[in-house]
Amino acid sequence: MSAHNDSNPPEPVDLSNPKLSRFEVYKEGLRRDDIEIIHYEPRFAKPGTKAEKRMERIVSGLFLFSGLFATAFVAAYIWWPWEYEGAATWRDLQTWYTPVLGTTLGLSLLFFAVGVLTWAKKLLPVEELIQDRHDGGSSSDDRKIAEATVDNMVEDMGLKRRPFLVKAALLGAAPLGLAAIAPLGALIKDPGDMLTVTGWNAEKHNDGEPIRFMMKDGALVRPDMVSVGGQITVYPAIDHGATNQHPTSPVLLIHLRDADAEVLRGNLYPMYQDVDALWGNFVAYSKICTHVGCPTSLYEQQSQRLLCPCHQSQFNVVDNAAPVFGPATRHLPMLPFTVDEEGFFIAKSDFLVPPGPAFWNRPSLPEEDEK
């Protein structure tokens, strides 16, 4: 039966024999489970020696310390001042609330852990046993019987004799499976124009009236609010224009220096020349990266680059914000704008190409492919 050992397997014992010791009965259990003891001896040769007592004391001490720290944790959880009271220094007790919880609970668990581990490693008998693995499949008898049982079942149901019944069942079950997942269809929504139209679309959001620029706090934007070389983030001055309801609308308004503006005018794509997208030395770029949509919020004034901190795409401000490094492939769309009679910035139209990350049916304009 047991193939693991060359030596003779232990003999079965007669369990009805009243003279059997507990250990002999126990060993009979091991034998029946195909386990053989290779090595088994008490950790301490003589029970009750000084060394054993000492180990017992150590383990008990560890458990008691654990209880002590657990009590400290509960006490600290209840009585340690914890409420946040604004700026505090390390002298204020409440700043130590979380560290105290961690230290007490951690130490309590660690003491108990070391206690249990020491018990297992220093007090349990030293043992090594060997058990038969019984690897591989079932015995050939079992296989044969199982096979016959399944065949009998197939025969009982007549799966082979009634092929049409089987097909009909499958044809019925397939739509049922579909019916089970069909309700998930409630999640499907037509993306519509959400990826192509932004908050700058006057027809959709402002009854056709031109949309003004506003700042986060709602203040309308005038040219004198941005110094030369400076930049601010502006939003469409519509309802919730500066909130996440208009995620592709944020625009970076940059006041270029004369020389830079001159370079940009020279580089301007024809579609932006046609609509006269700049106003003076001001330019407005979509702030949403054309890679996967993070805000391109780092403006390097010296190199005239915009950098997206998510994946390091870089855009050249004086060349239509065309990508110059990193994974982005498209320029940041320019928002054509001007100043109305009251002196506030207004958008002339929505972006000419969809801002933000690309998608498969994104309309591309030939100008984009030129560079």
Binding site: H4, D33, I35, I38, E83, Y84, E85, G86, A87, Y97, T98, L101, G102, T103, L105, G106, L107, S108, L109, F111, F112, A113, V114, V116, L117, A120, L124, E127, L129, I130, D132, R133, D135, L187, P191, M194, L195, A242, N244, P247, T248, P250, K287, V292, G293, C294, P295, P309, C310, H311, Q312, P327, T329, P357, A358, F359, W360, N361, P363, S364
Partner: protein, 528 residues
């Protein structure tokens, strides 16, 4: 005293009898108690994941009592002064309240986050152990595949988890997920609209992720962990080769009390470490990030480490966009983000089948392989590890560039080139190291251990004394077969030369009983 003891004994017997009457437990319980487990420290790596998961369930339940997964806009009016009056979602508000106004809430949040990191890290290390020792081979391929699925469930469970607080960092992660989703050909925009209930970020994604995060995925993970451990139990654990160990037996100690006590101790140890970390080390201070706004991001926006390699690949992938005008675009993020993730799922899942196919090895394997003995597999594994590490580093390349004053573009290019070149170098170097180690094992088996003792013979020739591992023939050679066991490489591995002096911090002078000290002197002076 004695009488009480007798009573409790008979009580136990009585209780056991009652239970057995009802559930017929005597036989299955005995088999369970007696089951023999092999022992090695590396078999405990997966346990770390299990114990972290239990802690995740416990701490997560606490958090769910206070967190409100709602994207309704509210004005913050809590105790944290810098954010007072700021518009934010209810989800972020309740996450702030958890940090500031729930007793022990910050501790629980940090416990949950640290447990996640340990959960994912231990899964990864456990996976490497299984891979490099060949434990995934037949009959255990199914369990390997379950393990891979568990890793990916954990990956998304973690990602959804840190997306829930709706702070600046988590919104940035969702934004990137949106960009990736939209890049899928044909269904992209529709998939994104389904995910966010229309336009990103919408008002529903947090509640959708919430039910997945607290119910669907934990249930799946729990079910799969149960099957995973059940299969380890039923198929019996693999073991390292060694004296008396064969493909057909298990050498170790019993489940009860030995194995279970060590497991309980280890579990409490892991919990203790995590508990201390949760109290002492800050993680994800969401109050510093502010609510998520589409127009705001801070530099050094990094995901959790297990997502970082994917982010790194997205950073490194060149700006290659496929355009077929007028209406077809395949954005660059599609390749690392969607295809890359798909391959990272499929290749590990299929690896056992691929190895079976190419090695034509269809046997059952219950003895583990030392990594050096399968140089091809080990080198392939190191190749993947190097690829992954470069991905992770690149996922934080802006931080590296800033901290070490390196050009960001240089970091990106180093990553791009490294991703292609380094794995090939890693493969070659690992292969050579494996062969070298194999050769050295055989050298020691043939010629014995290097003792470090140099001798000079009467002709003036210097030579090193070798300690043969068996009785040598007349040329000093031993005919020992390599059989996958660890070959001793140092004298103290074969029981020679224990330290003559005990004591750790200071010397404990004790005359040794068996004259070991003298023997050491003899050996060192070459008399032996």
């Amino acid at each position: 005293m004695k009488r009480r003891k007798g009573t409790s004994d008979s009580l136990l017997t009585k209780a056991g009898g009652e239970l057995d009457d009802r559930f017929k437990l005597a036989l299955p319980a005995r088999i369970l108690f007696n089951k023999v487990f092999p022992d090695h420290w590396s078999f405990l790596l997966g346990e770390i994941a299990l114990f972290s998961f239990i802690l995740l369930l416990l701490s997560g339940t606490f958090l769910a009592l206070f967190f409100e997964p709602s994207m309704v806009e509210v004005t913050y009016n809590g105790v944290y002064v810098p954010l007072q009056g700021v518009e934010m979602s209810q989800a972020y508000h309740s996450a702030l309240d958890l940090s500031f106004e729930v007793r022990g809430g910050l501790f629980m949040r940090q416990l949950h986050h640290w447990s996640t990191l340990l959960f994912m890290a231990s899964i990864l290390v456990h996976m490497l152990r299984i891979f490099f020792t060949g434990a995934f081979r037949a009959p255990r391929e199914t369990n390997w595949m379950i393990g891979i699925v568990l890793f990916w469930l954990g990956f998304f469970e973690g990602f959804f988890g840190y997306s829930l607080p709706d702070d600046g960092l988590s919104g940035t992660g969702l934004r990137i997920m949106e960009g990736m989703t939209e890049s899928i050909p044909f269904i992209g925009p529709w998939a994104s609209a389904a995910l966010f209930g229309g336009q990103f970020p919408g008002t529903s994604v947090i509640s959708m992720l919430y039910i997945i995060h607290v119910f669907v995925f934990p249930l799946l993970i729990l079910a799969l962990i149960t099957v995973h451990i059940g299969l380890v139990f039923a198929q019996k654990h693999t073991q390292w080769p060694g004296p008396g160990r064969t493909e057909h037996n298990v050498v170790g100690f019993r489940m009860f009390p030995n194995y279970v006590m060590k497991q309980v101790g280890f579990m409490l140890f892991i919990w203790g470490v995590l508990g201390a970390m949760a109290g002492l080390f800050q993680i994800n201070p969401i109050w510093l990030f502010g609510p998520y706004e589409v127009s705001v991001v801070s530099s050094a926006s990094q995901p959790d480490f297990y997502v970082m390699y994917l982010d790194g690949l997205i950073r490194l992938f060149p700006a290659w966009e496929l355009r077929i005008p007028p209406y077809f675009t395949l954005p660059p993020v599609f390749w690392p983000g969607i295809v890359g993730m798909g391959l990272s799922v499929m290749l590990p899942l299929l690896y056992p089948a691929l190895e079976r196919r190419f090695t034509k090895d269809r046997g059952h394997h219950n003895l583990l392989q030392r990594p050096r003995d399968n140089a091809g597999r080990t080198s392939l594994g190191v190749m993947v590890v190097v690829f992954w590490i470069i991905g992770v580093i690149s996922g934080g390349n802006d931080v590296f560039a800033e901290q070490f004053d390196i050009s960001l573009n240089a970091m990106t290019w180093a990553g791009r080139i490294g991703l292609v070149v380094m794995p090939i170098i890693a493969y070659y170097v690992t292969y050579r190291i494996c062969l070298g180690l194999q050769q050295h094992d055989r050298e020691v088996l043939a010629h014995g251990l290097e003792t470090g003792i140099l001798m000079r013979d009467p002709n003036g020739r210097f030579y090193e004394v070798h300690q043969p591992l068996a009785e040598p023939d007349e040329h000093g050679h031993t005919e020992l077969e390599y059989n996958g066991w660890v070959v001793p490489k140092k004298m103290n591995r074969i029981g020679a030369l224990p330290p003559a002096d005990k004591g750790f911090f200071k010397s404990i002078e004790e005359p040794s009983e068996d004259g070991r000290a003298e023997r050491r002197d003899e050996i060192e002076s070459g008399k032996h």
